[in-house]
Symmetry: C2
Amino acid sequence: MDYTVIFQPAGCRGKISCGKSVLTAARELGAAIEAPCGGGEVCGKCKVRIENQTSVTPVTGKERKTLSAQELADCYRLACCTEICGDAVIFVPQESRALQQVVMENGIARDCAVNPAVKKYSVELNKPTLADCRDDFARLKAALKSRFIQLDKQMAIDYKVLSQLPALLRQGGWVVTVTLWQDKEIIAVEPGRSEKVYGIAIDIGTTTLAAYLCELTSGVVVAQASCMNSQVSYGDDVLSRITYCINNEGGLAKLHHAIIADINNLVGTLTEKAAITADNIQDMVLVFNTVMHHITLNISPEAIGSAPFVSVIKEAVDVKARELGIKIGTGGYVHCLPIEAGFVGADNVAVLIAEQPYKQDAMTLIVDIGTNGEIDFGNKDGVLSASCATGPALEGAQIKFGMRAAAGAIARISIDPETREPALAIIGATEEQTSPVAARGICGSGIIDAVAELFKAGMIKSDGSFNKNIRTPRLRRGLDGKWEYVLVWADETAIGQDIAITQKDIRAVQLAKAALYAGAKILMRKKGVEKVERITLAGAFGSYINKENALVIGMIPDCDPAKITVVGNAAGEGAKLTLFDKAKRVEAKQTAQFVRFVETAAEPEFQEVFFQAMYLPHASDKFVHIDRILNKIPG
Amino acid sequence: MDYTVIFQPAGCRGKISCGKSVLTAARELGAAIEAPCGGGEVCGKCKVRIENQTSVTPVTGKERKTLSAQELADCYRLACCTEICGDAVIFVPQESRALQQVVMENGIARDCAVNPAVKKYSVELNKPTLADCRDDFARLKAALKSRFIQLDKQMAIDYKVLSQLPALLRQGGWVVTVTLWQDKEIIAVEPGRSEKVYGIAIDIGTTTLAAYLCELTSGVVVAQASCMNSQVSYGDDVLSRITYCINNEGGLAKLHHAIIADINNLVGTLTEKAAITADNIQDMVLVFNTVMHHITLNISPEAIGSAPFVSVIKEAVDVKARELGIKIGTGGYVHCLPIEAGFVGADNVAVLIAEQPYKQDAMTLIVDIGTNGEIDFGNKDGVLSASCATGPALEGAQIKFGMRAAAGAIARISIDPETREPALAIIGATEEQTSPVAARGICGSGIIDAVAELFKAGMIKSDGSFNKNIRTPRLRRGLDGKWEYVLVWADETAIGQDIAITQKDIRAVQLAKAALYAGAKILMRKKGVEKVERITLAGAFGSYINKENALVIGMIPDCDPAKITVVGNAAGEGAKLTLFDKAKRVEAKQTAQFVRFVETAAEPEFQEVFFQAMYLPHASDKFVHIDRILNKIPG
């Protein structure tokens, strides 16, 4: 007996045999649940909330010991101890979501209509006879229109699909499934009947790519994958990529082919995970900053790099995947969301349609952290946006022991202010290997924690320099003679050498956080406000940021931590929403026109604002919501 | 001082310096005039009619000797003796048109609106500033819409053009010329100002291709070229091509690539002639029979080959040239005219929109001769069409000494009924080499003449077999022991061997003419008529057919020769009209729906009708209009 099981907020759903544990079900359906003990009923980390108690086996003795009375009353269970015995909806709370998902974090689940741009229609055709010798295409169109009355528009067919049409119709014994794009172009024909429609949303960052394979009839994310942007070998940030294009013959082509190869690799990974083929992918939505947008489309980004910062096209682009060399279904389109201005691209539009600040009353600051950071500030009366050249430090790049948020990355750090000894949380391995993992490096959230914790422990000063008066073997001169703080001794690592935070790393974090803070400050001044009411922290790694530590280092303006929300990869979320609901494409167009772009670096006060923000937490601005913490900081 | 000179009916036009001869002007502008003596004022063949006497120098003494009083009164002149001294319109009569144009014959000139599907618009843009930092595409669209008020529609841009847009705008100092397709898609952007718009029309026959490079703002055919269809090495007729596709792995791909290579070669030849580049070609119209249509579009023609003879798409296809591997302007489209049914394809639709029988009262028979022949019969009350498997004999293929209508081809033959000696007309060389040319072979019109003349001279009988009672050294057994008639002795040829018509050649002509006659007869019966009022003979080589000889061999039903018109390549003409006037695309659609297709081979009486038509001129039908000729035929 199989039951339908849905995991929220990821939305993963599928059929599960009676008697399987919730943890097993989660693995089968791609909803990652943290289970450091590997499902051995030991660690108690795999807490989930069951929405309907009759759908699972009763509470076990083990659970009674591990879960609090309140948790039991709130229908929390341990995924490893609970078995499916009915159709179930299961909520996986933030703390139970597996760390290895970090780059491909779903973000906060959102209500979303399921009305994709690509839809499938199965039809049976009359076989041709001498009395009815209509051409294949006319026969197909007539069958579609008589079966689905909503298809009243002129209908075109992709040329490559047309060229395969006779074989496809005959293979399927005149029963075929047609994929229509925007109800006006046939972009695929499959023999026989087929229901599932797949699309891929990709957030193309300067440093990392996060991709989501979605099943578009059910609104389910089937698989996720991420990778580094291979362009990093040609430059760390958008400006250096532009410079590469300008100074190197064939430079644009190289960068373009690098990103297309990344996309094709992600398509391969995702389709393999879902046991489908790339041919099954009928739609793709891409979001990116303006420079990544241009390079992905093989368009020179040169004019974006200098005043007056002109892009080639702001409106949404629909282009056949094959024109870009992207290998999905032959007739499939790639939809690029519209870009705003300067470096503020389709990724920020995606963040906005996911977060919808323009529908809210509260003055909200949205900080989307990446190598190219974007900030939005405003409410239903108007939203301003700006770009911040943060550099890749907050994504773990350009940091001595930096790495992306994958297995072995130090993701959370706390430092005891008395002993100056660190406590670390390391991202676990893949689902298959759930045993504890030794540290390999530090990812972005760990780097923010490190700077904040060293600052709180009095080991670095407000200007970011190490306090050399502190005596601990962890604070030392490295082999290069520069000061550093050792987080993990060599014998406890997977790399056989001490993992340390260097003075240079701290500087990189200061530059990044100052860029974000200065951008936010200038938008606040433009709006004439002193305080933000709400802050939304987004970014591919955003869900693991310790928001209090973000305040401690002054990355964001002072705000009640209760009003700070960490939403994960909101750009990726917006991309997914656009796959699931074509109305989001219209909303994106309106949003791109509604939001006003501010070229913050061109503001006269920028240098001064930026300089003051270099201090921890700030040269002059007060952080009343963390005074309690800051007052404890020695010296 | 330059003058505008226009040659009719070709429509070639251009600027010519004062003092140049009409013959030189014709060569410069691509209007081929027959001048066997090479412009030496000797042969008197280069007669032209000057529409305005004041535009040329006065009549010379040489002309007074060569031209008749009537010709002089009718304003006829010799092109080699007449110099340009004003804007001139010059008519080149049929007999003066150079033979080497035969495959690329213009046909009869027709009134045609000049309103092409692609148009150019030059605009100057405001340079971007910090105050006006619109994206390049938005800036371009706004400039176009403000300068040309008719461009009110939504405007798209070809992706490849978009990717080049920033460079093109800046190279041109923000002055650019945009090529719009159907006023809705930007398919090309050139730096600076540009006016001429080029397109190419190609008639893709089973055996030969005829291509026309046209300048679309003036309605002028700038250059013409032709070549063999390289697919002939895979089969001589459409059925053998289908068989090749079915029986050979990758067969379709081979045939497809062969035809695309031919098209690209023709583009190269034409653009070289006109001293432009392939990038300048912004539009292409293709006409072909259904099988060539499918193979050119890389679509399997398998289903067309057997009952119920289903094609994949009948409606017109617009496809980016680059999708087919055709190398013209990056964003350019290829427009394939709609096809009818069975083997009756876009070429017949092109013939129909050129000849417009559906606008006429007289019951007209149109015979389009090619390897796959098409016939249309009817008037404004309805038109029937049919396909005839004539084989390639009438294009000079599958004939022992057959060749296409190029330099060295025997194009006209008469045989003295007394001496049984032939008189021949051989197609001249290229424009550059005007000296007399020795025979290399026999083209289609020569083959029809040969059969008709041998029949009239009593050397072949009504059943097509040689009359072996006739004594002449020319009628002999060949090396293979089969009978043949020697047209040219080896020492007078360019190939060093006797050129002969064999018994097998005569059989091939009989089969071809019987197919055409039988098709016409069945359509006449369907319409319930005994007589045709008018006959139009079309075909790539059609202008050189001796229409009386076509009656003598019974290729067409009996008709007053005065009512038989030879129009040349009407399919090519229809393709050109479609390039010049986009309204012809609408007319083609209506025509394809108006004409009723008859599967003649499926008619019960076909075999009998065909068999009777194998006889010269026919087993039983009377040819009253050539009785005088036929009555002279001995035995």
